[in-house]
């Protein structure tokens, strides 16, 4: 069976009434590359047929509410996203190719739960809040990426769907930011590492910093120990070296077809050091 619900109400009643597995489909770019799963999928539910899930709105209480089925290419040319969440544009530009970006979605990147999902480190440093359906008493369940992602390809979603990704407002004053993907080539390469850094300076100090590395842990999560080491500190060569070492230790990469554990640890520290050196010399300022 396949369904193309036209409204959130219709989607919720499908989610609640359908028995057996449900496969929610947005851009299908990850689903269809696994033909054995794809061909045996029962109860396909299209999310792109629902207007709300393919639009972006100003969120109540500030920030941006992004429909989980908005294609990445639309995010990338949205003036609000470009101005306020440029790290997201940078990350999306390195996902697949334009052909993929015209189809792929943030909802899919999260639900696919790949440790190498390139939007995930950026969504983490922007403190993204996920709105999960079906709604209960009219309200979506709010969750963090770390609540949803349980391991490579594993989520706690079950029959729930991702409806929206809310990005809170980000303070512009003193902000610096950084995104770097390390892969075999720019396009269509699965990352060996992706690193997102977002923070704020106050004078010469790092008032706050958020760091998230992708492809180096089973789940994408913030590097809290490294963040704690840097928060409130003055950047020095010594501190940068220490933070790079801390991040290398804090991550838990594996060796696989794309890279080795030791290379991933090394490059993690090296890329963070590069970001911090640039911040120290006053770089990575928002325009």
């Amino acid at each position: 069976m396949a369904h193309r619900p036209r409204s959130l109400d219709e989607l919720d009643s499908l989610a609640l009434s359908t028995s057996g597995d449900v496969t929610y489909v947005a851009g299908a770019t990850d689903l269809m590359v696994k033909p054995e799963h794809w061909k045996s999928a029962v109860n396909l539910v299209d999310l792109t047929s629902i207007g709300e899930l393919t639009t972006m709105l100003q969120a109540d209480g500030g920030g941006l509410l992004i429909g989980a089925a908005v294609p990445l290419s639309r995010l990338m040319c949205d003036p609000v996203v470009c101005e306020r969440y440029p790290l997201l544009v940078e990350a999306c530009a390195q996902i697949g190719s334009v052909q993929i970006q015209n189809r792929a979605t943030l909802g899919g990147n999260i639900a696919n739960a790949s440790p190498a999902g390139d939007s995930l480190p950026v969504l983490s440093v922007y403190d993204a809040e996920l709105h999960l359906g079906p709604r209960q008493s009219g309200a979506f369940t709010k969750a963090r990426i770390t609540d949803v992602m349980r391991g490579p390809g594993l989520t706690s979603l079950g029959r729930r769907y991702i409806a929206f990704i809310r990005l809170p407002e980000v303070e512009a004053n003193g902000q610096f930011r950084y995104f770097r993907k390390v892969g075999q080539r720019y396009s269509l390469a699965i990352s060996k590492l992706s690193l997102a850094v977002l923070g704020w300076r106050e004078g010469d100090r790092l008032r706050d910093i958020r760091i998230c590395a992708g492809s180096v842990s089973p789940v994408v999560q913030r590097a809290e120990k490294t963040e704690a080491l840097l928060r409130g500190q003055l950047l020095s060569d010594e501190l940068i070296a220490k933070a790079a070492r801390r991040l290398s230790e804090e991550v838990s990469p594996i060796s696989d077809i794309r890279s080795s554990e030791s290379y991933r640890r090394h490059i993690c520290g090296a890329v963070l050091a590069d970001a911090l050196h640039t911040i120290r010399t006053g770089g990575l300022k928002p325009p």
Partner: protein, 167 residues
């Protein structure tokens, strides 16, 4: 499921499994074999078509999402008034060797000529074409054809006009 959509301007009504790939619908159900299958997993771009005016890999579009959409394949593009000039540029530059990737490249070329900023550098054009792989030419000859076309603002304007009608 019964699916109605448009292919190259013609209405199509087919009974299809929802998981069927657009690529198979085009080649096997409609006989439009200009669209090629390379990798079948969204990496090579050989099966690129326009879906509602945006280039996509047809191996990764399920029939489920086709109702009401507009698909343009290389066969449809042949009828566009700009096609001859694009073909000419590929021929002049010797961009075609085995040819398997070329329908996908031509579809991407049209999209690149529309979406890439006027002052785009060679590097940016190269990047915009990075979703299409070619195992024969070493890319330079394809890139040169696209760069030649890029120098023709009138052609780009006409392409943008056609694509706007597709969206």
């Amino acid at each position: 499921m019964l699916i109605e959509f448009t292919v190259n301007g013609q209405n199509v009504r087919l009974n299809l499994p929802p998981t069927r790939r657009l690529l198979d619908v085009l080649r096997d159900d409609l006989g439009l074999i200009g669209t090629k299958e390379g990798c079948g997993r969204g990496e090579c771009g050989s099966c690129t078509v326009l879906l509602n005016g945006a280039r996509v890999n047809s191996c990764l579009v399920p029939a489920l999402q086709l109702p009401g959409s507009r698909v343009t394949t290389i066969e449809g593009l042949r009828e566009w008034p700009v096609f001859e000039r694009i073909a000419e540029a590929f021929i002049e530059n010797g961009s075609v060797q085995c040819g398997l990737c070329i329908p996908g490249y031509v579809m991407s070329t049209v999209a690149v000529l529309d979406e890439t900023a006027e002052q785009a550098t060679s590097e940016e054009i190269r990047r915009a074409l990075a979703g299409n792989l070619c195992r024969c030419t070493g890319y330079d000859k394809v890139l040169r054809a696209v760069e030649d076309l890029f120098e023709e603002p009138e052609l780009r304007r006409r392409i943008t006009e056609i694509l706007e009608r597709e969206r």
